[in-house]
Amino acid sequence: MEFFTISLLNGLSYGLLLFMLSSGLTLIFSMMGVLNFAHASFYMVGAYAAYSVAQLVGFWPGLVIGPLAAGVLGALFERYCLRRVHKFGHVPELLVTFGLSYVLLDLVQLIWGRTAVDFQPPEVLRGPAFTIVNSSQTGMDLFFGAAPDALCRAADAAVRVVCSPFPATRGFMMLVALVMLLALWLLITRTRIGLVIQSALTHPEMVEALGHNVPRVLMMVFGAGAALAGLAGVIGGSTFVTEPSMAAAVGAVIFVVVVVGGMGSLAGAFLASLLIGILQTFAVALDVSLGSLLAGVGVEPGAALAGSTLMRLTLSQVAPILPYLLLVLILIFRPKGLLGTREG
């Protein structure tokens, strides 16, 4: 039970982190028709910028400045590179962001080195947020913060006690993601700026005729999307590890999220993020293989099959390919994505 709860929460927090990234990607895609290949690179830039600020003045200013740096970088890139290739069509737009991902990766390696940097979360977030103590004697108990040491050690050998802590950084990740989502939703649906953005999405000519600078709106949206990725980077970088390969690690997964959710659908991206986050977290934690599963239901595979990789591979080993398998299955059975509206 406590395994299930903790895994679910871990999966949810990872899914929310994925959504922080894929929401920006989806927003940019639905407004500009551009798939930002460098989106995960902004995630990395945010993490590294926040790391540098954290070295100088502390984590909390970094939490603000990191996303800002990524956002400004994104806006500048839109203004001076992306806008220039817009007239060539969608493929060159995708290519220019592809080139940017190379340049950003190497710039980061140039400035911060090729190995991981030591980006720690602040003191407050280092411990567990709460601990579930499951004792065979007293049942389940919930403690905020770390559980007292004495509780986790069984008094005598007959009593089984399991303490499952939930890291505070994971909780913070969920909190930031939810606050950000709420702010984004309020911004888009309740403010004047959001109104302009929404209308620029469907009727750009009309919005322009009414005197709004649509290219500047697009630049702001691109910058905002990059800033969201940067924010996710600060959280993700301090929770997991800040290294040059962090962009590649999430890059392909967020593309899967966007396709599985349905291109351009924000709600679909949300659903797919949580789905993939939970799927991967549970898969990593489960140590069953096809062979053991068959043995469980009483089927004995043949001698030749028993030793093969197919029977030996555990679910935790195949966890990295699960998102891509999901992508293939979705494409075969529901090509427009979970909540997508258009095919093509």
């Binding site: 995708l94 290519l95 140039l110 899967v256 396709v259 990789t309 998102p323 494409l331």
Partner: protein
């Protein structure tokens, strides 16, 4: 209703396209003579790699240039082709597969086409941006699988084989690299010719139409999805041949050959060479091998330079190097190249200044970063730069700033001149048309 006869004269004169024969003859000659000119061991090895890269980049261009399909997972087909070919080579060595070693690349080709049949069915369901994302996902899928299934992919060490096996035919054992080079050169030539012929078939033409206006193609009655699918299989076949050539050349295949780095390199260099011309990817492939072998020796930050060149290419010359060549050929054909030469010289000089300044700065930052391991002093084009000294930094910045300013000045001048020349050419063309 009877058949309507076309009002075409019975006598149909079709001149030989002399230029084309000359070009292909030259291509064959270059392939033949290259190892005579560059005869050192590592040079022949580089030439062999170029042949492989040419087939791979051309097969990629069937998707990108001719079909408008941006694939991020082309290494899947070259890589799986290489793996199947290496397994075939192992089987030949063990005597269980009666296939001559010379035909191993074809085995790779069939494997590549087979995987394209299976995976392409999923990827070509979509076009445009979703297609790009799905190929990326499939690429990641295959790469992740390669680390999981050691039976086929050989785990960390990969699968290796020996190409010197069986009875020698006409004294050819494929022991010396030069024999392998000529085999690969033959494959390169035949594949290039076959892919060029493919662009001339009705299917190749419809593929171009699918790239340019899929909606109209659907209206005419073609299924764009099926056209993409068939083109994908053709591309997979040639990619597999490139993989088989790779297997024969290196006698080993590791998990990296299906990795994203290779897919990215095919995309980058095909585009750099020029995707809109048939011969563009050949230039790109030569650059691919040269950059991988020489540029990476020269500087650790070579991917940064590559990325920057790519960015500028997409922004300013989306037709790649091939389009730059063709544009200047057109200017030359109208006899207007000579006045531009001075501008080219100025552009080149200032461009070199910018490059030197930027490169010095990059190397300085790089040595500042890795000062502990590679030292803070280094030799840059004959000058000794030191990370700790201000004059090194100042010098690099100064060269960069002056170079940039001069380059911008000459660029503006050149742009004006270029525009005027192009207008003159347009007018000349109109005049000639009017004269007819």
């Amino acid at each position: 209703m009877g058949r309507t006869h076309e009002s075409r004269p019975h006598y149909h004169f079709k001149p030989w396209n002399v230029g084309r024969w000359v070009l292909w003859g030259l291509f064959a000659l270059v392939l033949l003579a290259a190892p005579k000119v560059f005869s050192a061991n590592f040079q022949v090895s580089l030439l062999s790699q170029m042949g492989i890269a040419i087939v791979a980049c051309l097969s990629y261009n069937v998707l990108l240039g001719q079909g408008g399909m941006l694939s991020f997972g082309h290494a899947v087909y070259t890589g799986l082709g290489a793996f199947v070919a290496i397994h075939a080579l192992v089987a030949v060595g063990a005597g269980s597969l009666p296939v001559p070693v010379s035909l191993i690349p074809l085995v790779g080709g069939v494997a590549g086409a087979g995987f394209a049949v299976v995976l392409g069915f999923v990827t070509t369901k979509k076009a445009g941006t979703p297609f790009a994302m799905i190929t990326l996902g499939i690429g990641e899928l295959v790469f992740a699988m390669s680390l999981m299934v050691p039976e086929f992919f050989g785990g960390e060490g990969g699968v290796s084989a020996n190409r010197v096996t069986g009875e020698p035919v006409l004294g050819i054992t494929y022991g010396p690299q030069i024999q392998v080079y000529y085999l690969l050169a033959l494959y390169t030539f035949v594949c290039t010719a076959a892919m060029f012929a493919f662009t001339r078939t009705p299917l190749g033409r419809v593929l171009n139409a699918v790239r340019d206006n899929p909606e109209r193609v659907e209206f005419i009655g073609y299924s764009t999805q099926r056209v993409r699918y068939i083109a994908f299989i053709v591309s997979g076949f040639f990619a597999g041949i490139a993989g088989g050539m790779y297997a024969l050349n290196f006698e080993i295949a590791t998990a990296e050959v299906v990795g994203a780095a290779n897919s990215g390199a095919y995309l980058l260099f095909t585009f750099l060479g020029g995707a809109i011309f048939f011969f563009g990817p050949i230039i790109g492939a030569v650059l691919l091998v040269l950059a991988g072998a020489l540029l990476s020796e020269f500087t650790k930050a070579w991917l940064l330079y590559l990325g920057l060149v790519f960015l500028f290419m997409v922004m300013y010359a989306p037709g790649g190097i091939a389009s730059l060549i063709m544009m200047n050929l057109r200017v030359a054909a109208f006899g207007k190249l000579r006045p531009l030469l001075a501008s080219y010289l100025a552009l080149f000089g200032t461009g070199v200044a910018v490059l030197v300044g930027a490169a010095a700065l990059v190397e300085l930052v790089y040595h500042l970063q890795l000062g502990d391991t590679i030292g803070t002093q280094f030799n840059f084009l004959g000058a000794t730069l030191d990370v700790g000294r201000l004059d090194s930094w100042f010098g690099a910045c100064f060269v960069l700033a002056v170079g940039l300013a001069l380059f911008e000045l000459t660029r503006r001048q050149f742009e004006l001149q270029w525009g005027v020349t192009q207008e003159e050419i347009e007018r000349e063309i109109k005049r000639r048309e009017a004269a007819i």
